[in-house]
Symmetry: C2
Subunit: 316 residues, 2 copies
DNA sequence: CCATTGGCTGGGAGCGCTCCCGCGGCGAGT
DNA sequence: ACTCGCCGCGGGAGCGCTCCCAGCCAATGG
């Protein structure tokens, strides 16, 4: 009942361990006939490579690390969906704890590389010497490529849609958007709204209070573009408290389209970002980095606007 | 710049590898003086144990596996919060894929054990030969202990609270609650409501349609106890569509208290389960199982009722 | 004073795999 | 026909750690 090793296979096949290793890894050094035979024996012995032995010998663990801040919870499944391979996950309370984990992972050779959920860590990771890929953030640190979502076209599409509905006073509620470049969003929003008679403004505070204040302004905005789904839900709540009907008096567009958007009433129109694709891209970029190839920033396909009940024609 | 190994430490300290190993692992066999010296040298050399070498030699990887179904997304952070150590995470589309992952993890010695999010896998895991712990579900499979949340007292507290508010017609909306034993919840609900003039009923279908149908019944229930936060949000939406004001015409109590409960309006009264504690318990129980000790089911501390705006006095 | 005990320690054999080195054997070149 | 070169494979040395075993020395009892 003991687990078979390549030594067992070698004995069974009458060859050496080395030959078995080459054969099973599909690399040159053995004849096709021998390879076939070895593969067959391995199959019927039920052999599977020991990840630990591989890791020791090869210096690679095959796992990628992800240190999570609590705010990201909702996005992990979507991200992992596209991510091939295992993720070693760790939830930490703050920045120092995160850096400590990165250090330890590096020292203990626990992971080959890590995914960063915010660009602020990139420089630190370079210092630690752990390969890393930034999700969604702006690049800039040499050796730490980013995988990006094109928030600019996403924002443009949403704003064009709102413009077509007659909205002229659009306010963006900026917030702690994950996998996003705040500067890019801001730029996209301001350039897209410069043609409007009442240029859209950006509100920097993500609190519910801020939303109430925005809605109390005169003339009142007819549409909100919220950086996160949470903010959009908070906006719905604020509108309700102020006696504003959505979408009659106010249209709300959200960013991300987590399941939450379909649960609330009215259901939220949202800019859906291809998060699964982001995960897949991150995996392949990290792979390139580990292979020693120079990896550049890559961009996922454009977001799509999902229209639901929270948007409608402007009414003033 | 090479990473120090215990051999380096041994050379530096003038002792053998074996002595270093014993000293750094705090086990008997070396004198206290030698241990001190070795520890000091290890520290100044910046030594950290190689997890891969440990895993190869010791047969333990130190990692726990968690295969995720997409429905659980929201709970992972809370769970991990209490879980000490790393979790190897994998999202899969269905049951077969999950079993395949378990098999592979076992064959490749990727993880020491796994956390199960539903009891249905327990028997399979025994067959595969992977140590496992069931989160929240009913036990029953020998060798696979469960960590439980006391849903009975949670349900009782909520129902007592509703009774005190004058509610006599309470309906439970059953759903796909995670980390829970459906049978226990049902039992708790039926026993707690047998004293009421209109005994509470359990509706087995978790859809929004079902909720609408429940609310269309005459006499209409005055309170709903929803198995999940999603269902509670759906209930709020359904109530709204039917012109029912919450909490004036209908009180809604939710189970779990994810952040969602505070975002919607009215904010949801919820039975908060100690999920972080569940994670911590799971870690320690799994530890016991791995140590070969017989582990029994354990129960986390009782849930707490968090009252918010979705509940109020009965109005009919 | 010598044998026995017991605490410390050095040596070394694995754990399962990768990869380098080198050796036979075969076909091709002159 | 002889040599050269290359292909296919065997042998073995690590990777860093754990843990068993035997040897050493001091303390102790007879």
């Amino acid at each position: 009942m003991k687990r078979p090793t390549i030594t067992d296979i070698a004995r069974e096949a009458g060859v050496s361990k080395g030959a078995v290793s080459y054969a099973l890894n599909g690399r040159p050094g053995v004849s096709e006939a021998t390879r076939q035979r070895i593969t067959e024996i391995a199959r019927e012995l039920g052999w599977a490579p020991s990840s630990t032995a591989r890791a020791l010998s090869g210096g690679r663990t095959g796992a990628t690390g992800l240190v999570l801040d609590r705010t990201l919870e909702v996005f992990v499944p979507a991200l992992l969906d596209g991510f091939e391979g295992e993720l070693l996950l760790r939830v930490v309370p703050g920045r120092d704890a995160a850096v400590a984990i990165y250090r330890r992972w590096r020292a203990e050779r626990k992971v080959d590389g890590v995914l960063l959920t915010e660009p602020g860590y990139a420089a630190e990771l370079v210092r630690i010497g752990l390969p890393a890929v930034v999700l969604g953030g702006p690049g800039g640190v040499p050796g730490v490529p980013s995988v990006l979502v094109d928030d600019v076209t996403g924002a443009l599409e949403a704003l064009e849609y709102l413009a077509a509905l007659g909205h002229r006073r659009v306010v963006r509620i900026a917030g702690a958007a994950v996998f996003a470049d705040p500067a890019a969003r801001k730029r996209a929003f301001t350039t897209a709204t410069t043609g409007l008679p009442h240029p859209g403004t950006v509100h920097p505070e993500p609190s519910a209070d801020a939303i109430r204040r925005v809605l109390a302004a005169r003339p009142r905005p007819t549409a909100l573009l919220c950086d996160t789904d949470d903010l959009a839900v908070a906006a719905l709540a604020a509108a309700r408290e102020l006696g504003l009907a959505v979408p009659r008096d106010l249209s709300v567009v959200s960013w991300d389209d987590t399941p939450l958007c379909r649960l609330v009433r009215p259901a939220l129109t949202a800019i859906r970002r291809p998060l699964a694709e982001l995960g897949a891209l991150a995996a392949s970029v990290l792979h390139d980095v580990l292979a020693g190839e120079r990896a550049d920033d890559v961009c996922a396909s454009r977001p799509r606007l999902i229209t639901r009940g929270s948007t409608g024609p402007a009414n003033s």
